[in-house]
């Protein structure tokens, strides 16, 4: 009882944080059709600034860290990334009116990590003076890449099987493949249809290569900025420029990014609506489920290897977050037959706001309760 009331007080306090205020502000601004815009160049630059700052601070601190401590959390991160995809494959994809490839892609995006959500969590942890391992932000790629790779591999296997079945069927029936494509692709119509035979004829059960997907992820702008920051923090001495520039700008730039995320969320609601309610429900539940799953794994590491409670919150946050920058292009290239409205809509319009506004305050409150009561 006392726990609950304490928790609620904590939670409500977090809701007044300006970070969240900017997020909601952005939603309202877009909802009332304001012409306010944050130019694309600024948006991209802010993301770069935030992630390179996260990387720099990690890199600078990592030097003294014992990287062996990172092993268990990193393994857990990868595991959670992979599990996320299978959870989606066996829940969302089984629902009526949900296309399997769309569901797999969506699950992949929810398994992947959002740099901005991570940045928001770090800010809140600092405001609350909760300590965490300097390398915790570096768990990002350990979850991001396995999730995307798994999603693309699972989707490829599924598509190949479907195609083979369709071919056998078409051989039996000696029918044009046009009907199949029309029902599968939705938009892929006549003009293209006539070439389908040639194409599917050539697609023998080909293996999915994993390295290109990993490379594609690492080359994404978000991960690149993070890793660049890490490397610079590790190998050069950026203290002055960090203290005079990257660190003081962080909080302010984050608030503007939150505004953009809020505007985005509202703007994408329409896309989500088109693909149906199941996506909305999944997008609402998934961050909480993935997050608490990761929180649980994190606690295991906490009790066995002394992983800090702040680190547990970070692990839970990257699990709860869904990628908004680098994930979509990777998926678009890797699972081209999936409808981007489905996964981008789910992630941006519902997943990210839930992760930011519900999950982070929740995880921090729980961590604080655990700390207070001798976690």
């Amino acid at each position: 009882m006392e726990f609950l009331s304490e928790f609620l007080t904590l939670f409500i306090g977090k809701l007044q944080s300006p970070t969240l205020g900017f997020l909601i502000g952005g939603m309202v601004v877009a909802a009332v059709n304001s012409r306010l815009q944050i130019p694309d160049a600024i948006y991209k630059f802010i993301v770069f600034m935030l992630l390179i700052k996260v990387g720099l601070s990690g890199g600078m601190a990592i030097r003294e860290a014992n990287l062996a401590d990172m092993l268990l959390p990193a393994a857990f991160a990868a595991l959670i990334g992979i599990m996320t995809v299978f959870v989606g494959r066996y829940t969302l994809a089984k629902l009526p009116k949900v296309k399997v490839v769309d569901a797999i892609a969506t699950a992949g995006l929810f398994g992947a990590v959002s740099g901005s959500t991570l940045a928001a969590a770090l800010t809140l942890l600092e405001s609350e003076s909760i300590t965490y391992e300097p390398w915790a932000a570096a768990l990002y790629p350990f979850m991001d890449i396995p999730a995307l790779v798994t999603a693309i591999v699972v989707a490829s296997i599924y598509v190949t099987k479907q195609r083979q079945r369709a071919e056998e069927y078409s051989k039996q029936e000696a029918l044009s493949t046009e009907g199949y494509y029309a029902s599968q692709g939705g938009g892929a119509a006549t003009a293209v249809g006539r070439r389908a035979e040639t194409r599917s004829g050539g697609s023998a059960p080909k293996k999915v290569e994993i390295w290109p997907i990993v490379k594609e992820s690492l080359q994404g702008s978000a991960l690149s900025a993070l890793l660049l920051g890490l490397a610079l923090g590790l190998f050069t001495d950026p203290t002055t420029v960090y203290d005079t520039f990257f660190s003081p700008m962080f909080r302010g730039l984050l608030s503007i990014l939150m505004l953009v995320m809020g505007m985005e969320a509202t703007a994408r609601i329409g896309e989500l609506r088109k693909v149906g309610q199941w996506y909305a429900i999944y997008a609402f539940a998934a961050p909480l489920i993935h997050g608490f799953l990761a929180f649980g794994f994190g606690l295991i590491a906490h009790y066995t290897t002394g992983f800090s409670l702040g680190g547990v919150v970070i692990l839970a946050t990257i699990a709860a977050s869904s990628s908004d920058i680098s994930g979509p292009p990777t998926l678009r290239a890797g699972i081209p037959s999936a409808n981007p409205s489905a996964y981008i809509g789910s992630s941006t319009a519902v997943g990210t706001p839930v992760a930011l506004a519900l999950c982070i305050p929740l995880f921090i409150s729980v961590a604080q309760e655990l700390a207070n009561h001798g976690g």
């Binding site: 293209v192 505007m263 985005e264 896309e271 908004d324």
Partner: protein, 105 residues
């Protein structure tokens, strides 16, 4: 020295920029021009994760002058076969009355 040519126009998702440029190159076309474009077609989506609140376009429009109709059709066929099943896109052919000045015709 002026001569007839065909103009092939391809509008599709920005994501495919490099891949289509490669197809055009490999078909032996003497060159191409590309501009950023927005648009609407049968599928209502051509988002690749850019914020929609920013006003950047996410389509591209290629214009390729080819010395003959066959090359244009070949490029178009190749592009459509590879991409138009999964991606938004349209391609069409225009008459060019004459190429007046060019370095490579």
């Amino acid at each position: 020295m002026t001569q007839q040519a065909s103009k092939l126009v391809i509008v599709t998702e920005k994501l495919l920029l490099k891949k289509i440029a490669k197809i055009i190159d490999e078909a032996g076309a003497p060159g191409y021009t590309v501009v950023d474009a927005g648009g609407k077609g049968s599928r209502n989506v051509r988002s690749t994760g850019n914020p929609t609140v920013s006003d950047t376009y996410s389509n591209i429009k290629f214009e390729v002058l080819t010395p003959n109709r066959e090359m244009a059709v070949k490029i178009s066929d190749e592009v459509a076969t590879q991409f138009f099943e999964d991606y938004s896109g349209i391609s069409y052919l225009c008459d060019v009355m004459e190429v007046l000045h060019a370095h490579n015709f």
